[in-house]
Every structure is written in C-alpha cells, then in structure tokens.
Symmetry: C2
Subunit: 409 residues, 2 copies
C-alpha cells in the first residue's frame, strides 16, 4: 500500500451561532486527526473573512478535555461572519487555499455558506486545482433543503418549546394577552416547535403564526378575540417573518406606522428584526387597541416578549439528539473527504420515529442545498392558518427531547 498524500484542511463557521455549532467543529477536528489524508487543520477565525485575511488557528493536537469543553460550549468558537462572498471574494478564498496548500475545506453554516462552498468548489474545478469542499449544515431555522433537519434546530426548538410552555403557565397565572416573537424571517420551523408546549385545549400556545400562512390583521384580531373570549387569556406565538394576505411583511406596515424612518435596515433593505423588541411591541400595541375595542375592558393586559438571541445560544437547554447529530455531521464531512468523495453537503435521512427514531447520513450536492430554502410544508399548518397540525409533533419531538409534563390543579 502506498503512502497516503497528506494535505492541509481548513474549517470555518458562518452565520448566526447555534447551541451546538461547536459540536460540528469538534467533530471535524477529531475526525481530521484520525485520517491520514489530512495533515494540518487550520481554523479560520470569523468564517470566510479569516480565510482571506489568513487569520488561522492551528487545530492539530489539541487536548481532548479542551475539545470536549469546546464542543459543549454554545456559539462559534472560531468566530463567525455575516459576509456573503461574491465571485471576487470567493477568488480571494481560493487564492488563500492555493497559497497554504489547502485541499479540503469544511464550512459549517446555512444555505449561504453552502453557496459559498459551491462557488469555491467550482472555481477550483475550473482552475484544475484539487479541492474537496464540504458544507456542514447548521441553522436554527431548519430551512435547508434535502436534509430531513438541520443541526442547531433541535436545541433552538427545545428552548422555544420550554419558553412557550413556561410563558403559557405565566399567562395562566396572571391572565391576559401575550405575544411571543420567534426567530425565522422566511420559514416557520422554529415558531412551529412551540406547539410542543401544548397538551390540551387550554394549554398555550393558543395561536401560532408562521410566514408560510399569510394572515390579515383583521383575522389576527378575530382569532385572538375568540380565544380571549373563551379562556380569558391568549398566548400567541408569532414568527418574526409573519406576512399579511398580500405576502407583505407585518413588520413593514406596523413598524412604519410607529417608528418611521428610524428603523434599521440591513444591506438588502430588510428591517433589522433580531436584537430588537420592536415587532413584538408593535403587535402588542395593535392587539391591545383592537381587542380592547371588542370587549368592555378598558385596560386589557397585553404583553410581548421577543425571545431574541437566547434561542440560539442558551447553554442550559440543549437537545441531546441535536448535540449528537451536530457532532456526527462534522465527522461525516471529514469521512466523505477522506474517502475521496466529491464536494457536497452532509445531509440526514430519517430512518424511524418515536422510540425508533434514527438518522443516516448521506452526501447531498452543494447546488441542491445552496441559496434557496425549504419552507414549512402546508401539511404541518392547520386549516385556519393559525396553528400547527398535530402530525408535526411526530416530526419535531425526537429532535427536541423530552419536555416536562405540566401538573395542574
């Protein structure tokens, strides 16, 4: 048997952190040390930015205890970036690879990261430079195509389910109308996970709105008034990407009314939703005015909480399955690389549910994962468009792990 050619590798983390993104990183680090094909493993600080700036940490020979601690620590140990590389940026990445004899690139991130991986991989092909690029899925939004679900989602879903359960009990203790705003600008997967908090008709959440089910302001008020009239309280879970019957984001209308020009927008002109309580406050003010008018209560108790960054970083409510699978996804990427497989994205196929829950991994094509997202399918949304169908529980429950059973008098 001939001596294996040893080549250098780079790993990076991109986009919003998750509670388990370091599991994937450590999966890569551990597996890389086991395969002869990989010589030096560089960690790029702050994602692709660290590559073009050649800001690397050498990841070989790290202590096993330290690696274990890093794996169990939420958020990106290497640092992350919001940079979305264009062709020119990707060329700089590719040049840095060539300069450092990097032949394997492992990139942990969402669909934008998969697209970066795709472009860099294509550039290498065109240049005749041998490079294997592996995308390792990561997103609390769970909106990557091909894979059954995404590492990072289960833990965020666990946080949301517990938070809505607790907040629903709070709302039952001191009744009123409560709005909880959940992350997910384009897809309702994370918002939908709040349904796990509910075990009977009176449990929160009473209403769930996802971007995939447009809702008019009038219907929204009707729905809340119906629940409030029946139970004397109402907990509403709203995705930050909630849209009206014309597909227009609620945030645009509500925020323009109350905040005018001072709203922060990102490079694409989208309103900055995360890291702000504005949308929740606007919805609460709107609901207070409109629902009060239907009841003779002058001071309707309406509150809003925006779960914010806690959803993706809270260290004390991590899903055991998510932890294991995120680690596995990192390992698999290295295994595919070492086995000489073509560039691709690690994906999960579900092999069973309930007590038989399990997954197997496979390699998806980068172009099938890049750019476009996977919305919550219609069969998971109830007919009224204001709740989540019971069958979603089968999908999401194993990813989240056990939830407490509510005790009631």
């Amino acid at each position: 048997m001939g001596k294996t050619t040893r080549r250098n590798a780079i790993v990076g983390q991109s986009g919003g952190p998750t509670a388990v993104i370091n599991q994937s990183l450590v999966g890569v680090i551990e597996a890389a040390s086991e395969f002869d094909q990989i010589d030096r493993l560089f960690g790029a600080r702050y994602g692709v930015r660290g590559i073009i700036e050649e800001n690397f940490i050498e990841l070989n020979g790290l202590d096993a205890g330290l690696l274990k601690r890093i794996a169990d620590t939420p958020c990106s140990a290497l640092g992350s970036t919001r940079d979305k590389p264009d062709e020119e940026y990707c060329r700089k990445i590719f040049n840095a690879f060539a300069k450092n004899d990097v032949r394997y690139f492992f990139y942990i991130g969402g669909n934008d990261s998969a697209d970066t991986a795709r472009i860099v991989s294509e550039m290498a092909d065109e240049a005749g430079y041998e490079l294997r690029v592996f995308h390792i899925p990561k997103t609390i939004d769970n909106d990557l195509r091909v894979t059954d679900h995404c590492p990072g989602y289960g833990s965020a879903a666990r946080f949301v389910a517990h938070a809505v359960m607790g907040d629903g009990l709070d709302n039952a203790s001191l009744p009123g109308i409560k709005i909880d705003v959940i992350m997910g600008r384009h897809a309702g997967w994370l918002t939908a996970a709040s349904m796990l908090a509910r075990h009977d008709e009176t449990d929160a959440p009473h209403l769930i709105y996802v971007p995939e089910a447009p809702i008019s302001e009038g219907q929204f008020v009707d729905d809340i008034a119906e629940v409030y009239g029946r139970l004397g309280r109402c907990l509403v879970v709203v995705s930050e990407g909630i849209v009206d019957e014309n597909g227009k984001g609620w945030n645009e209308q509500l925020l323009r009314m109350t905040h005018g020009a001072e709203v922060e927008r990102d490079g694409h002109g989208n309103i900055q939703l995360s890291g702000s309580g504005m949308l929740g406050d606007c919805i609460a003010n709107f609901a207070r005015a409109e629902v009060s008018a239907r009841f003779s209560e002058k001071k309707l108790r309406v509150r809003a909480d925006t779960f914010g960054y806690l959803q993706r970083s809270f260290p004390d409510s991590v899903s055991p399955v998510d932890r294991t699978e995120a680690h596995l996804a990192g390992r698999k990427a290295v295994e595919y690389a070492a086995a000489g497989q073509p560039s691709g994205s690690v994906a999960f196929r579900r092999t069973g549910n309930g007590n038989d829950y399990g997954i197997e991994c496979f390699r998806a094509k980068l172009q099938d994962v890049a750019r476009n997202i996977k919305p919550l399918p219609p069969e998971y949304i109830n007919e009224a468009g204001n709740g989540i169908a019971e069958q979603f529980r089968t999908y999401v429950a194993p990813l989240v792990g056990e939830l407490p059973i509510i005790g009631k008098l």
Copy 2:
C-alpha cells in the same frame, strides 16, 4: 392527651410567578396533611381575589404523583393576582375567613403579600378571632428584608447567568455591542447574578448596571466605548430599573424621547417595563448613536434583548437548591402554624458557603418583611459602579447551582 382541635386553612399565591412557587404550594399541601391541627385546606384561585370571591379548590387528599408534577411545574398553579388589598379589601378577606372557619392563612408572595398578611393578622387580633397568618417568601427580585435570600431568586438567577453566558458567546462570535435588559425595577439582585457568566477579563458581561448604582448617560457611553475599543465588542447587562445621577429612571427620559405619550403606565404612574422591549431598544438606539460617533464605524452593530417573562417561568433551567428551599419554605410555614407560633414570615439564615452551603429557617415578624425592600448592598457593587464585586459570587453561586465551563480556542 386531648384531641387536637382541627381548623381550616387557606393557601394562596400572589404577584409575579417564579419557576418554583409551586414547590412552596406543594410544601404547604403535604405538611398540612401531616398535622392534625389542620382539617380542610382550601386553595384560593388568583390570590386574595379568590378569597373574597370564595373561589376555592379543596387541596386535601390529592394524589402524590400529581403533587410532584405540580411542584415541578413553574408558575402559580392556583393562579395569581396583582391586587394590592387596602384595609377594606383586607376586611373582606377576614370576613371570608370567619365565614369558612379558616384559622390558618398561608400566603406565598413578595413584600406586598407580607403586608397583606400583616394587615389581616392585625384585624384578626383586634377582633379577637384566632388566626395565624404565615407569609411564604417568593420573588425573583430577591429583595425581601430579613431573609438571606428568597425562593424563586435562585432559578431566575440561574436563567440570567446562563442567558448572559450564551449571549456573551454569541457576541464573541459576531462582535458588536449588545444590551441585555433584566427584570428588577428597584433592586439589582437579579441583574447582578449575570456576573456568574464571567470567568476572565474578556468574558461577558463586560458592564453591569443596577438601580443601586446611578449612572449618567455620558458615563454609560464612556464605559461602553472603553470596552469596545479594547475588545472590539461589549456586552452590557442593564437592570430595567437603571437610574441616572439624579436618581431619575432612564426609562422615563429615553422613552419620553422616542415614544412620547403612548407609553403604558401602571396604577402608580410607573412606566410598564415588563412584557415590552422598549427600554432595551431605546438604550440600543442611544448607544448606537453615541458610540458610533466616537469610532469611525458608520454601521456599529448594536442589539438589545429583553429577557422578559422567561426569567421567571422557564422550566428547563431550575436551580436544584432553589427547588428544595422553596419546598422547605412551604413546609416550615405549616410547621410554625401547627406548633402554635405567632403569625410571621418564613426566613432563611445561611449557615455556610461553598461546599458547606446550608440554611436554617426561622420565623421573621411580618412587619419586618412587609412593604420596604432590601436593595443590593454597596459592597457587592464595584467602585466604578459599572460592575459587580467578586465577593458577590460567594453569595449567589450556591443559590444558582453549577454553570458550564466555557471552552475556548
């Protein structure tokens, strides 16, 4: 030995819920079943309101499994109230007691509840009606006098410490300025607990502001600019009760600037802070404008999260010590009652710290606990007034339980 006279008892829950308030309730229920002195035990729905409306649940003979589940469920299983009884209201309470031959009243709540207990107890004395009233401490604010600490605080502090740890890692992944707003209008105990997230100079939180340490807007900006200049990021933990150098609430000034008349106020004219992200958003906008001006960064990344009701209701991050002590506080109230002790409030005395941590219970006088609060003492605040002194760790750590050790590259 003569036959013990068996009398009826009422238990109620009041004010903002906590993650362990039902532990105290179940402590009362269990102990009441063990002592001959107590015949029927009524649970008042929605606190004192349930007493004057005679809206009771009979709590005798409940299944042990159900009681265990209720104890482990956050928030008030009986329902809570924000009613602050005046003398007339207390008379109605007293009349309901007399009508139902209630001779023991157990009230789980904060300093307002202790005051209600005091007034009702005094009315009974004046009327020559034999009544023992026991206040069982409960508040995430930890601001009750006499007792070393309050049931409910440890779990809320655990949530805050984990949340700030996770959010600090998030802030290190995608650097910028982050503001986290913590509950506690008058006392900084809960905000101070965020210091547990910090293990070295670079860890979050970098700045902590409590109501006990007034801070001018100028100093606030200076502090953030100093940290941001040094680390390229800054996580700031702010109590919702933050005040300026004249003792005036920041919320008053900032919110008036941006929201004018539309701010919701409570019965005392105070701005409604909980269940809204306004204060955090205002501070973030202010910090963005002021700190940007000091650096040549046009688009400084500034975000705010308001932890909201999750701090008091999250089911997946409960402090084991808090759970045990809340249960004990409920039991002790019944023991004091059964032993014929005078009306009072259950209080904790700390007997040791670290590995020797322990408490013993004693009965405090209602008038010593009622109404006034206990602020965070000056020795727990750093000299600059922008952080928490290291010695606070000794006080708070045992109440919160173990925190993860951050793994860093």
